[in-house]
Protein backbone atom coordinates (compact mmCIF):
# COMPACT_ATOMS: atom_id res chain seq x y z
CA UNK A 1 0.00 0.00 0.00
CA UNK A 2 2.74 2.38 1.06
CA UNK A 3 4.73 1.66 -2.09
CA UNK A 4 1.71 2.21 -4.25
CA UNK A 5 0.98 5.49 -2.45
CA UNK A 6 4.58 6.53 -2.96
CA UNK A 7 4.26 5.90 -6.69
CA UNK A 8 0.99 7.79 -6.94
CA UNK A 9 2.37 10.67 -4.88
CA UNK A 10 5.45 10.80 -7.08
CA UNK A 11 3.33 10.80 -10.24
CA UNK A 12 1.25 13.63 -8.81
CA UNK A 13 4.38 15.69 -8.10
CA UNK A 14 5.50 15.11 -11.68
CA UNK A 15 2.12 16.19 -13.03
CA UNK A 16 2.13 19.32 -10.87
CA UNK A 17 5.65 20.21 -11.99
CA UNK A 18 4.36 19.98 -15.57
CA UNK A 19 1.65 22.51 -14.77
CA UNK A 20 -1.30 20.30 -13.86
CA UNK A 21 -3.39 21.31 -10.85
CA UNK A 22 -3.74 19.43 -7.57
CA UNK A 23 -7.42 19.00 -8.39
CA UNK A 24 -6.56 17.27 -11.64
CA UNK A 25 -4.31 14.93 -9.72
CA UNK A 26 -6.92 14.12 -7.13
CA UNK A 27 -9.40 13.43 -9.89
CA UNK A 28 -7.00 11.28 -11.84
CA UNK A 29 -6.16 9.15 -8.80
CA UNK A 30 -9.57 9.34 -7.17
CA UNK A 31 -9.04 6.04 -5.34
CA UNK A 32 -6.23 7.67 -3.39
CA UNK A 33 -7.96 11.02 -3.01
CA UNK A 34 -8.13 10.99 0.80
CA UNK A 35 -4.50 10.06 1.34
CA UNK A 36 -3.31 12.47 -1.32
CA UNK A 37 -5.34 15.27 0.19
CA UNK A 38 -3.56 14.78 3.50
CA UNK A 39 -0.20 15.01 1.77
CA UNK A 40 -1.14 18.14 -0.12
CA UNK A 41 -2.41 19.71 3.09
CA UNK A 42 0.99 19.14 4.71
CA UNK A 43 2.70 20.62 1.66
CA UNK A 44 0.41 23.63 1.88
CA UNK A 45 1.49 24.15 5.50
CA UNK A 46 5.09 23.95 4.39
CA UNK A 47 4.51 26.56 1.69
CA UNK A 48 3.37 28.95 4.41
CA UNK A 49 6.93 28.93 5.74
CA UNK A 50 7.90 30.94 2.67
CA UNK A 51 6.77 33.95 4.66
CA UNK A 52 9.84 33.66 6.86
CA UNK A 53 12.04 36.54 5.79
CA UNK A 54 14.80 38.54 7.38
CA UNK A 55 13.22 41.62 8.80
CA UNK A 56 14.60 45.13 8.79
CA UNK A 57 17.70 44.26 6.83
CA UNK A 58 19.24 47.31 5.26
CA UNK A 59 20.23 45.93 1.90
CA UNK A 60 22.69 48.70 1.14
CA UNK A 61 24.60 48.48 4.40
CA UNK A 62 24.68 44.68 4.38
CA UNK A 63 25.95 44.72 0.80
CA UNK A 64 28.66 47.19 1.77
CA UNK A 65 29.63 44.84 4.56
CA UNK A 66 29.85 41.97 2.09
CA UNK A 67 32.02 43.94 -0.36
CA UNK A 68 34.29 45.05 2.43
CA UNK A 69 34.68 41.59 3.94
CA UNK A 70 35.26 40.04 0.53
CA UNK A 71 38.02 42.59 -0.15
CA UNK A 72 39.71 42.13 3.21
CA UNK A 73 39.63 38.39 3.14
CA UNK A 74 42.46 36.84 1.19
CA UNK A 75 41.46 33.29 1.98
CA UNK A 76 40.83 31.21 -1.13
CA UNK A 77 37.26 30.31 -0.48
CA UNK A 78 36.73 27.73 -3.15
CA UNK A 79 39.19 25.43 -1.44
CA UNK A 80 37.08 25.57 1.66
CA UNK A 81 33.95 24.57 -0.16
CA UNK A 82 34.71 20.96 -0.59
CA UNK A 83 32.01 18.93 -2.11
CA UNK A 84 31.60 15.23 -2.46
CA UNK A 85 29.05 15.81 -5.15
CA UNK A 86 29.76 16.39 -8.76
CA UNK A 87 27.66 19.31 -9.82
CA UNK A 88 27.49 22.41 -7.63
CA UNK A 89 30.98 23.68 -6.99
CA UNK A 90 32.58 21.41 -9.49
CA UNK A 91 31.22 23.90 -12.02
CA UNK A 92 34.42 25.87 -11.72
CA UNK A 93 36.59 22.80 -12.06
CA UNK A 94 34.63 21.71 -15.08
CA UNK A 95 34.91 25.15 -16.63
CA UNK A 96 38.67 25.11 -16.03
CA UNK A 97 38.96 21.61 -17.37
CA UNK A 98 36.93 22.38 -20.46
CA UNK A 99 39.82 23.61 -22.65
CA UNK A 100 41.99 20.78 -21.38
CA UNK A 101 39.31 18.22 -22.20
CA UNK A 102 38.81 19.73 -25.66
CA UNK A 103 42.56 19.76 -26.27
CA UNK A 104 42.96 16.15 -25.16
CA UNK A 105 40.01 15.05 -27.28
CA UNK A 106 41.39 16.81 -30.35
CA UNK A 107 44.82 15.35 -29.66
CA UNK A 108 43.43 11.85 -29.26
CA UNK A 109 41.45 12.20 -32.50
CA UNK A 110 44.51 13.52 -34.36
CA UNK A 111 46.79 10.84 -32.94
CA UNK A 112 44.32 8.08 -33.69
CA UNK A 113 43.52 9.30 -37.17
CA UNK A 114 47.22 9.85 -37.83
CA UNK A 115 48.01 6.41 -36.45
CA UNK A 116 45.26 4.99 -38.61
CA UNK A 117 46.63 6.74 -41.67
CA UNK A 118 50.17 5.63 -40.82
CA UNK A 119 48.94 2.08 -40.47
CA UNK A 120 47.11 2.36 -43.77
CA UNK A 121 49.89 4.03 -45.78
CA UNK A 122 52.61 1.77 -44.42
CA UNK A 123 51.12 -1.02 -46.41
CA UNK A 124 50.36 1.03 -49.49
CA UNK A 125 51.87 0.31 -52.90
CA UNK A 126 52.82 2.57 -55.81
CA UNK A 127 49.76 3.74 -57.68
CA UNK A 128 47.61 3.76 -54.56
CA UNK A 129 46.28 6.99 -53.08
CA UNK A 130 48.21 6.72 -49.85
CA UNK A 131 51.54 5.85 -51.42
CA UNK A 132 52.70 9.47 -51.86
CA UNK A 133 51.94 9.95 -48.15
CA UNK A 134 54.15 7.02 -47.36
CA UNK A 135 56.98 8.41 -49.44
CA UNK A 136 56.59 11.88 -47.94
CA UNK A 137 56.65 10.41 -44.43
CA UNK A 138 59.84 8.53 -45.34
CA UNK A 139 61.47 11.71 -46.65
CA UNK A 140 60.57 13.54 -43.45
CA UNK A 141 61.88 10.68 -41.37
CA UNK A 142 65.07 10.70 -43.40
CA UNK A 143 65.47 14.44 -42.95
CA UNK A 144 65.29 14.23 -39.18
CA UNK A 145 67.24 11.01 -38.85
CA UNK A 146 70.68 11.25 -37.19
CA UNK A 147 73.41 11.43 -39.78
CA UNK A 148 75.23 8.44 -38.36
CA UNK A 149 72.20 6.19 -38.64
CA UNK A 150 71.07 7.29 -42.08
CA UNK A 151 72.67 4.26 -43.70
CA UNK A 152 70.49 2.03 -41.56
CA UNK A 153 67.37 3.91 -42.61
CA UNK A 154 68.36 3.76 -46.30
CA UNK A 155 68.74 0.02 -45.94
CA UNK A 156 65.25 -0.16 -44.48
CA UNK A 157 63.94 1.92 -47.38
CA UNK A 158 65.77 -0.32 -49.81
CA UNK A 159 63.97 -3.31 -48.34
CA UNK A 160 60.69 -1.43 -48.54
CA UNK A 161 61.19 -0.73 -52.24
CA UNK A 162 62.15 -4.37 -52.88
CA UNK A 163 59.07 -5.52 -51.05
CA UNK A 164 56.86 -3.12 -53.01
CA UNK A 165 58.40 -4.15 -56.31
CA UNK A 166 57.93 -7.80 -55.38
CA UNK A 167 54.27 -7.28 -54.61
CA UNK A 168 53.66 -5.38 -57.82
CA UNK A 169 55.44 -8.04 -59.84
CA UNK A 170 53.38 -10.71 -58.07
CA UNK A 171 50.18 -8.92 -58.99
CA UNK A 172 51.27 -9.19 -62.63
CA UNK A 173 49.30 -6.23 -63.96
CA UNK A 174 50.56 -4.68 -67.19
CA UNK A 175 49.67 -1.24 -65.93
CA UNK A 176 52.21 -1.61 -63.17
CA UNK A 177 55.24 -1.89 -65.47
CA UNK A 178 56.10 1.76 -65.24
CA UNK A 179 55.66 1.75 -61.50
CA UNK A 180 57.91 -1.27 -61.14
CA UNK A 181 60.55 0.32 -63.31
CA UNK A 182 60.44 3.39 -61.10
CA UNK A 183 60.81 1.17 -58.09
CA UNK A 184 63.82 -0.60 -59.58
CA UNK A 185 65.49 2.77 -60.09
CA UNK A 186 64.66 3.67 -56.51
CA UNK A 187 66.15 0.39 -55.38
CA UNK A 188 69.41 1.32 -57.06
CA UNK A 189 69.26 4.75 -55.52
CA UNK A 190 68.75 3.33 -52.03
CA UNK A 191 71.53 0.85 -52.59
CA UNK A 192 73.88 3.69 -53.49
CA UNK A 193 72.82 5.63 -50.43
CA UNK A 194 73.54 2.63 -48.22
CA UNK A 195 76.99 2.50 -49.71
CA UNK A 196 77.44 6.23 -49.28
CA UNK A 197 76.72 5.96 -45.58
CA UNK A 198 78.97 2.91 -45.27
CA UNK A 199 76.14 0.72 -44.17
CA UNK A 200 77.57 -2.34 -45.89
CA UNK A 201 80.71 -2.29 -43.82
CA UNK A 202 79.00 -4.69 -41.46
CA UNK A 203 78.97 -7.20 -44.33
CA UNK A 204 75.43 -7.64 -45.63
CA UNK A 205 76.14 -6.14 -49.01
CA UNK A 206 76.26 -9.47 -50.76
CA UNK A 207 72.87 -10.45 -49.46
CA UNK A 208 71.46 -7.06 -50.49
CA UNK A 209 72.86 -7.30 -54.00
CA UNK A 210 71.55 -10.84 -54.41
CA UNK A 211 68.11 -9.72 -53.34
CA UNK A 212 68.21 -6.77 -55.75
CA UNK A 213 69.24 -8.95 -58.59
CA UNK A 214 66.63 -11.54 -57.74
CA UNK A 215 63.89 -8.97 -57.86
CA UNK A 216 65.16 -7.66 -61.17
CA UNK A 217 65.26 -11.17 -62.57
CA UNK A 218 61.81 -11.84 -61.32
CA UNK A 219 60.61 -8.70 -63.04
CA UNK A 220 62.25 -9.62 -66.29
CA UNK A 221 60.86 -13.12 -66.23
CA UNK A 222 57.39 -11.91 -65.53
CA UNK A 223 57.24 -9.16 -68.13
CA UNK A 224 59.68 -10.64 -70.63
CA UNK A 225 59.83 -8.71 -73.88
CA UNK A 226 57.87 -5.80 -72.55
CA UNK A 227 60.88 -4.35 -70.91
CA UNK A 228 63.89 -3.98 -72.99
CA UNK A 229 64.52 -0.70 -71.28
CA UNK A 230 64.38 -2.23 -67.87
CA UNK A 231 66.73 -5.00 -68.87
CA UNK A 232 69.14 -2.36 -69.89
CA UNK A 233 68.54 -0.44 -66.72
CA UNK A 234 69.08 -3.44 -64.55
CA UNK A 235 72.40 -4.06 -66.27
CA UNK A 236 71.53 -7.66 -66.31
CA UNK A 237 70.59 -10.00 -69.11
CA UNK A 238 70.17 -13.51 -67.99
CA UNK A 239 69.63 -14.82 -71.53
CA UNK A 240 72.65 -13.22 -73.12
CA UNK A 241 74.79 -12.83 -70.04
CA UNK A 242 76.24 -9.69 -71.60
CA UNK A 243 76.78 -7.98 -68.39
CA UNK A 244 76.91 -10.97 -66.17
CA UNK A 245 80.55 -10.52 -65.59
CA UNK A 246 80.02 -7.18 -64.06
CA UNK A 247 80.45 -7.05 -60.35
CA UNK A 248 77.39 -6.34 -58.34
CA UNK A 249 78.63 -2.87 -57.62
CA UNK A 250 79.16 -2.20 -61.27
CA UNK A 251 75.67 -3.46 -61.97
CA UNK A 252 74.16 -0.98 -59.60
CA UNK A 253 76.41 1.80 -60.87
CA UNK A 254 75.33 1.04 -64.39
CA UNK A 255 71.75 1.27 -63.32
CA UNK A 256 72.43 4.65 -61.85
CA UNK A 257 73.90 5.87 -65.10
CA UNK A 258 70.97 4.49 -67.02
CA UNK A 259 68.67 6.26 -64.70
CA UNK A 260 70.42 9.56 -65.34
CA UNK A 261 70.23 8.87 -69.02
CA UNK A 262 66.54 8.24 -68.73
CA UNK A 263 66.10 11.39 -66.70
CA UNK A 264 67.89 13.44 -69.34
CA UNK A 265 65.79 11.86 -72.00
CA UNK A 266 62.68 13.03 -70.25
Amino acid sequence: MNEKTEKIFDRCLKLISRGYSIQYCLKKYSRYKDILEEYFKTIKYLKNLKNIKPKDINIKSSLDKIYKSAKNSTEPDMDKIKSKTATPDSGRRISLLKPVIVFITVLVVIVFSFAGTVYAFQDSLPGENLYPVKRTAESIQLFFYPELKKGQLHFKLLNNRIYEADRLIESGRDNDIELIEELLLDIDEEYNQCKKYNFFKSGNEEEAVTTINNIKNKYRKKYGQHNQDTEELSGYNEDTGNKENMSNEENVGENERNRNKKGNGN
Binding site: T42, L46, P54, S62, T85, P88
Partner: protein, 187 residues
Amino acid sequence: MVNINFYLKNFKKSGDNIWFEKIYIQFLPRIYRFFYLKLFDKQLSEDLTSEVFIRVYKNLQKINLNAKTFQAWIYRIASNLLVDHYRRKTRHGKEEPLEETANDLIGNDMLLKNSSILKKELGFENFILIDAMGKLTKLQKDIIILKFIEDFDFKTIASIFGKNQSTIRGILFRAITKLKNEIKNNK
Protein backbone atom coordinates in the same frame (compact mmCIF):
# COMPACT_ATOMS: atom_id res chain seq x y z
CA MET B 1 15.29 32.15 -13.32
CA VAL B 2 15.74 33.90 -16.64
CA ASN B 3 16.61 37.05 -14.73
CA ILE B 4 19.19 35.24 -12.66
CA ASN B 5 20.88 34.02 -15.82
CA PHE B 6 20.95 37.59 -17.08
CA TYR B 7 22.36 38.96 -13.81
CA LEU B 8 24.98 36.22 -13.61
CA LYS B 9 26.13 36.88 -17.14
CA ASN B 10 26.34 40.61 -16.64
CA PHE B 11 28.13 40.35 -13.35
CA LYS B 12 30.67 37.99 -14.81
CA LYS B 13 31.17 40.23 -17.79
CA SER B 14 31.28 43.63 -16.15
CA GLY B 15 31.95 42.91 -12.48
CA ASP B 16 29.50 45.69 -11.74
CA ASN B 17 28.07 45.32 -8.24
CA ILE B 18 24.64 46.33 -9.43
CA TRP B 19 24.18 42.82 -10.87
CA PHE B 20 25.38 41.19 -7.70
CA GLU B 21 22.89 43.31 -5.78
CA LYS B 22 20.05 41.94 -7.89
CA ILE B 23 21.13 38.36 -7.24
CA TYR B 24 21.52 39.17 -3.55
CA ILE B 25 17.98 40.57 -3.29
CA GLN B 26 16.53 37.46 -4.90
CA PHE B 27 18.44 34.95 -2.81
CA LEU B 28 18.71 36.71 0.53
CA PRO B 29 15.31 35.58 1.93
CA ARG B 30 15.83 32.06 0.67
CA ILE B 31 19.24 31.57 2.22
CA TYR B 32 18.15 33.24 5.42
CA ARG B 33 15.13 30.90 5.57
CA PHE B 34 17.36 27.90 4.99
CA PHE B 35 19.41 28.79 8.08
CA TYR B 36 16.50 29.94 10.17
CA LEU B 37 14.57 26.71 9.71
CA LYS B 38 17.59 24.83 11.00
CA LEU B 39 18.84 27.09 13.73
CA PHE B 40 15.79 29.08 14.86
CA ASP B 41 18.04 32.00 15.67
CA LYS B 42 17.56 35.23 13.78
CA GLN B 43 20.94 36.78 14.45
CA LEU B 44 22.88 33.61 13.74
CA SER B 45 20.90 33.04 10.53
CA GLU B 46 21.63 36.59 9.38
CA ASP B 47 25.34 36.21 10.11
CA LEU B 48 25.59 32.93 8.26
CA THR B 49 23.59 34.35 5.35
CA SER B 50 26.08 37.23 5.09
CA GLU B 51 28.93 34.75 5.16
CA VAL B 52 27.35 32.84 2.27
CA PHE B 53 27.12 36.01 0.18
CA ILE B 54 30.69 36.99 0.99
CA ARG B 55 31.83 33.66 -0.42
CA VAL B 56 29.54 34.03 -3.40
CA TYR B 57 30.81 37.53 -4.13
CA LYS B 58 34.43 36.44 -3.90
CA ASN B 59 34.04 33.55 -6.29
CA LEU B 60 31.16 34.35 -8.58
CA GLN B 61 33.22 36.01 -11.29
CA LYS B 62 35.59 33.08 -11.49
CA ILE B 63 32.91 30.50 -12.15
CA ASN B 64 30.66 29.81 -15.09
CA LEU B 65 27.21 29.20 -13.76
CA ASN B 66 23.68 29.31 -15.03
CA ALA B 67 20.66 29.92 -12.84
CA LYS B 68 20.25 26.27 -11.90
CA THR B 69 23.86 25.51 -11.15
CA PHE B 70 24.14 28.78 -9.25
CA GLN B 71 21.19 27.76 -7.12
CA ALA B 72 22.77 24.42 -6.31
CA TRP B 73 26.13 26.08 -5.65
CA ILE B 74 24.84 28.71 -3.24
CA TYR B 75 22.90 26.11 -1.25
CA ARG B 76 25.97 23.94 -1.16
CA ILE B 77 27.89 26.83 0.38
CA ALA B 78 25.10 27.34 2.89
CA SER B 79 24.99 23.66 3.69
CA ASN B 80 28.76 23.54 4.25
CA LEU B 81 28.63 26.59 6.49
CA LEU B 82 25.96 24.92 8.53
CA VAL B 83 28.14 21.84 8.94
CA ASP B 84 31.01 24.12 10.02
CA HIS B 85 28.70 25.71 12.53
CA TYR B 86 27.71 22.31 13.91
CA ARG B 87 31.37 21.38 14.20
CA ARG B 88 32.13 24.54 16.15
CA LYS B 89 29.23 23.75 18.45
CA THR B 90 30.50 20.21 18.94
CA ARG B 91 33.87 21.57 19.94
CA HIS B 92 32.18 23.74 22.51
CA GLY B 93 30.67 20.79 24.29
CA LYS B 94 27.48 20.07 22.37
CA GLU B 95 27.40 16.68 20.77
CA GLU B 96 26.03 16.98 17.26
CA PRO B 97 26.20 13.95 15.00
CA LEU B 98 27.22 15.19 11.58
CA GLU B 99 25.71 12.38 9.52
CA GLU B 100 22.81 13.29 7.30
CA THR B 101 20.73 10.47 8.74
CA ALA B 102 20.96 11.85 12.29
CA ASN B 103 18.42 14.14 13.83
CA ASP B 104 19.15 17.85 14.04
CA LEU B 105 19.90 17.98 17.76
CA ILE B 106 21.18 21.55 17.84
CA GLY B 107 18.23 22.78 15.82
CA ASN B 108 15.80 20.96 18.08
CA ASP B 109 17.58 22.31 21.13
CA MET B 110 17.25 25.85 19.79
CA LEU B 111 13.61 25.21 18.94
CA LEU B 112 12.92 24.14 22.50
CA LYS B 113 14.86 27.08 23.93
CA ASN B 114 13.16 29.70 21.77
CA SER B 115 9.73 28.09 21.60
CA SER B 116 7.79 30.95 23.19
CA ILE B 117 9.42 33.56 20.94
CA LEU B 118 9.00 31.36 17.89
CA LYS B 119 5.32 30.83 18.55
CA LYS B 120 4.91 34.59 18.43
CA GLU B 121 7.20 35.08 15.49
CA LEU B 122 5.87 32.30 13.31
CA GLY B 123 2.33 31.81 14.45
CA PHE B 124 0.99 28.70 16.18
CA GLU B 125 0.35 26.66 13.04
CA ASN B 126 3.80 27.25 11.67
CA PHE B 127 5.30 26.49 15.02
CA ILE B 128 3.54 23.10 15.12
CA LEU B 129 4.86 22.35 11.69
CA ILE B 130 8.40 23.32 12.63
CA ASP B 131 8.14 21.31 15.78
CA ALA B 132 7.05 18.30 13.74
CA MET B 133 9.97 18.86 11.39
CA GLY B 134 12.23 18.34 14.40
CA LYS B 135 11.38 14.63 14.20
CA LEU B 136 12.93 14.38 10.76
CA THR B 137 16.56 13.62 10.09
CA LYS B 138 18.76 16.45 8.86
CA LEU B 139 18.68 15.18 5.31
CA GLN B 140 14.91 14.71 5.32
CA LYS B 141 14.49 18.23 6.63
CA ASP B 142 16.80 19.68 3.99
CA ILE B 143 15.02 17.91 1.19
CA ILE B 144 11.59 18.94 2.46
CA ILE B 145 12.72 22.58 2.69
CA LEU B 146 14.31 22.61 -0.75
CA LYS B 147 11.46 20.83 -2.47
CA PHE B 148 8.35 22.32 -0.90
CA ILE B 149 9.50 25.68 0.42
CA GLU B 150 12.14 26.65 -2.12
CA ASP B 151 10.52 24.79 -5.03
CA PHE B 152 13.66 23.10 -6.28
CA ASP B 153 13.38 20.35 -8.84
CA PHE B 154 14.61 16.86 -8.00
CA LYS B 155 17.59 17.15 -10.27
CA THR B 156 18.99 20.17 -8.44
CA ILE B 157 18.34 18.62 -5.03
CA ALA B 158 20.04 15.43 -6.15
CA SER B 159 23.07 17.41 -7.29
CA ILE B 160 23.29 19.30 -3.99
CA PHE B 161 23.36 16.11 -1.95
CA GLY B 162 25.28 14.00 -4.44
CA LYS B 163 22.53 11.41 -4.64
CA ASN B 164 20.42 10.16 -7.48
CA GLN B 165 16.94 11.48 -8.09
CA SER B 166 15.10 8.28 -7.16
CA THR B 167 16.87 8.23 -3.77
CA ILE B 168 15.79 11.83 -3.19
CA ARG B 169 12.21 10.99 -4.19
CA GLY B 170 12.18 8.09 -1.71
CA ILE B 171 13.58 10.22 1.11
CA LEU B 172 11.09 12.96 0.34
CA PHE B 173 8.15 10.59 0.48
CA ARG B 174 9.23 9.10 3.81
CA ALA B 175 9.81 12.60 5.19
CA ILE B 176 6.47 13.98 4.12
CA THR B 177 4.68 10.88 5.47
CA LYS B 178 6.43 11.28 8.82
CA LEU B 179 5.63 14.97 8.89
CA LYS B 180 1.99 14.38 8.02
CA ASN B 181 1.64 11.81 10.80
CA GLU B 182 3.41 14.05 13.33
CA ILE B 183 1.13 16.97 12.56
CA LYS B 184 -1.87 14.66 12.86
CA ASN B 185 -0.68 13.40 16.26
CA ASN B 186 0.10 16.89 17.56
CA LYS B 187 -3.34 18.16 16.67
